[in-house]
């Protein structure tokens, strides 16, 4: 699920070709994702805009029965406090280890950026909000899939509680495994986009992103970020610097 750090010759050549071609998209302003003057990103840009233009808004991803729930691999970071894993950052690891030890009692989800009331929510606060349970298919970019049941609070409810400002266009997810990625407001307000604290009828297991992860059912699995730390609502597209998935060659838009 996470990016491969080995930098192959082929990819280096691709990047070289892309930058030497210096193709930039007409009408692709700095606030428009993805922002890259990269040949490979042109297809991503077309796909994103075609989906937003042509597909009905907020169609629901298929939901399944309890008996359809399948075995499900846990990949990428499966414990942010483990120094041997990708995405390990000392500061986050110490915090995460402490939360883990205390059963996430002190853990908070911060919500900031283009919101009227920057706030932070405990796990109990989130569980008191309205909840949604859905049995959906996780499609990993690697090619496999799994069906799991998720219980959580709709992201919309959390955004409403913080009072999203009218200039808000993206929601960025900051995580304890140091990754940062985001989605646009259309996916953020999708009824099935939830912040899940339960999986298959029990608390979200550590390997699957405890205490809280995103579920974005209209995109590939890597957009359903695990180990949430905070949300930042933005009015401009942000590639999230070295922590952004797109820096490693991964498409920002994964509804493909």
């Amino acid at each position: 699920m996470r990016m491969n750090k080995r930098f192959t010759t082929r990819r280096a050549v691709m990047k070289g070709l892309a930058s030497s071609a210096a193709i930039t998209l007409a009408g692709c302003s700095a606030s428009e994702p993805p922002t890259y003057g990269n040949v490979l990103r042109m297809g991503d840009w077309l796909t994103y805009n075609a989906h937003r233009l042509l597909l009905p808004r907020h169609s629901l991803a298929r939901e399944y029965d309890l008996r359809d729930i399948s075995a499900a691999p846990a990949i990428g970071t499966t414990d942010p406090s483990d120094p041997s894993q990708g995405g390990f950052v000392q500061e986050f690891a110490e915090d995460y280890a402490r939360f883990l030890h205390e059963g996430f009692g002190d853990w908070r989800l911060t919500v900031e950026g283009s919101v009227a009331n920057p706030s932070s929510f405990s796990l109990e606060d989130l569980k008191r909000m309205r909840s949604r349970t859905q049995i959906t298919r996780h499609a990993c970019e690697e090619g496999w899939s799994a069906i799991m049941q998720w219980t959580g609070v709709p992201l919309r409810a959390v955004l409403e509680a913080a009072g999203v400002r009218s200039d808000a266009r993206f929601v960025q997810f900051h995580c304890y495994d140091a990754f940062v990625d985001g989605i646009d407001m259309l996916d953020a307000l999708h009824p099935q986009t939830i912040l899940a604290y339960g999986m298959n009828g029990r608390d979200l297991p550590i390997a699957h992103g405890a205490p809280l992860r995103v579920r974005v059912e209209t995109q590939l699995g890597y957009k359903s970020m695990k180990f949430l730390r905070g949300l930042v609502v933005t009015s401009e597209f942000d590639d999230n610097g070295p922590y952004g998935m797109i820096q490693n060659g991964w498409s920002w838009y994964a509804g493909i």
Binding site: M3, N4, T8, R10, R11, M14, V39, L40, R41, M42, G43, D44, L46, T47, H51, L55, P56, S59, L60, A61, R62, Y64, L66, R67, D68, I69, S70, A71, A72, P73, A74, I75, T78, R137, A139, C140, E141, E142, G143, W144, S145, A146, I147, M148, N200, G201, R202, P205, A207, H208, E217, T218, Q219, L220, N248, G249, S251, A254, G255, I256
Partner: protein, 226 residues
Amino acid sequence: MSNAIESPTPQRHALWVRVSHWLLAFSVLTLAYSGFYILLAHPRLYWGEVGNDLTPALLELPLNDNHRPEAWQQTVTFDALANKPISASRTMEIFNQNGWARSLHFLAGWIFVVAGAFYFAFGVATRHVWRDLWPRRGGSYSLLQRWAYTSVAFGLLPFMVLAGLAMSPQVVAAFPVLLDIFGGHQSARTLHFFGFVAIISFVVGHVAMVVLTGFGRHMRAMIVGK
């Protein structure tokens, strides 16, 4: 077959045929190449909606070590559920070049769709499809050639687009019927793979016939028109 080999004069190809032929050839080969790299991350095929390393495969393709990764630990069971599903953590890093491969696949996919629509529109408007490709006797192509061209252009390639779309989370949310048509996400992926094998077989046969019946002549016909 002998008909094709003895074919005295190759077709004179109109400019729009030549342009769309090369755009389609370029995009299909790029799709095949990038698609193969996407497959390498998980060379296991399944049937139905679900398939992963913790479920049995329909077909394991021994292309690299990823088809049978052994290193899993910390198994979690969900005993409260009737079928007792499990989860486990992967402890090894797999070969995965899906970042650039997927973006290249979709870039080529857009070129393919635009060139294909252009070809289809001109092919129907100029009666090229009926005159030269549709399976019937007469004209400069044999019946077998006509069957091959028609089934690839109007059967296999559109099928590949649909099977590809059936793997898209955003598209199947809007059109869940695609999942029903292909029998699920993993079935669509498996059929997409077999479609790739069929396309590669066609390309090999097509290029072999071009070489056998006068490579220079055919290339000239498809590049400069005669």
